[in-house]
Amino acid sequence: MAESPARTAFAEEALTHLDTLYRGALRLTRDPDQAQDLVQEAYLRALRYQHSYQQGTNMKAWLFAIMRNLFWDRFRGSRKEDVSLDDVGEFVLYDKLKDEGARPEADVLDKLAASEVVKAVEKLPPLHREVVLLVDVEGFSYKDAAQTLGVPIGTVMSRLHRARQQLQRSLYDYAVESGIVRANGGQQVQQ
């Protein structure tokens, strides 16, 4: 295929955001092969719709939107997993740990393995997971996240709030299971 210089320049710029797209796709699909397929398809689509990208706007957000829209097109058709979170009630990990007599940061956060945090993120329903990916992992503002997802800012905030409660609950459960904290009994291992 003979590529025009403009197309090549556009592709080069788009590729500077590859890490963001790849890790987003990996966390959404939870599978490296599917993530690569998704990212490749997203880039091909981005080049095809190059004309719809407005110069000077947020290209990372534009690309992420293409990728997650493709993900949702596939996801809707294939999976029966819960898409959203039930309201499980307020859960504030910090308060919970304090109540149990632990030092929340030193006793718990410093002991959580990265792989457990990833598991907790990947356990979130995708509708909530993608907000965490944008705001916490990629550092998007609520406004940019809202634009990327095509929802109002209030929706971003409520999904994020729920996602964080669920995430903190998973991390708490893990901390109890692994003996980092003892449920209703404070710290288990004194060092």
């Binding site: 080069e12 890790r23 990996l26 990212v39 992992v137």
Partner: protein, 71 residues
């Protein structure tokens, strides 16, 4: 600002979504309230932990393949 207001705004503070007046009010409270300061550090640490845990490098072979395909 009291502790309840502070904890309600903590997420938006950590996400840098408060306006400058709110930021000042909250910072003033944190300076005078060790409990909220400790809670703030916990939330900020958790956000960093989520970020760093979920980061990963694109496999180099995939990057090369994509570049060849697109450029």
């Amino acid at each position: 600002m009291n502790c309840k207001d502070c904890s309600e705004k903590l997420d938006r503070f950590v996400d840098r979504e408060l306006n400058s007046t709110e930021v000042l009010e909250l910072q003033l409270h944190l300076e005078s309230c060790p409990d909220c300061q400790d809670h703030y550090e916990f939330e900020a640490h958790l956000k960093r932990l989520v970020k760093h845990s979920c980061e990963c490098d694109t496999p180099p072979a995939f990057r090369d393949k994509l570049r060849q395909l697109l450029t």
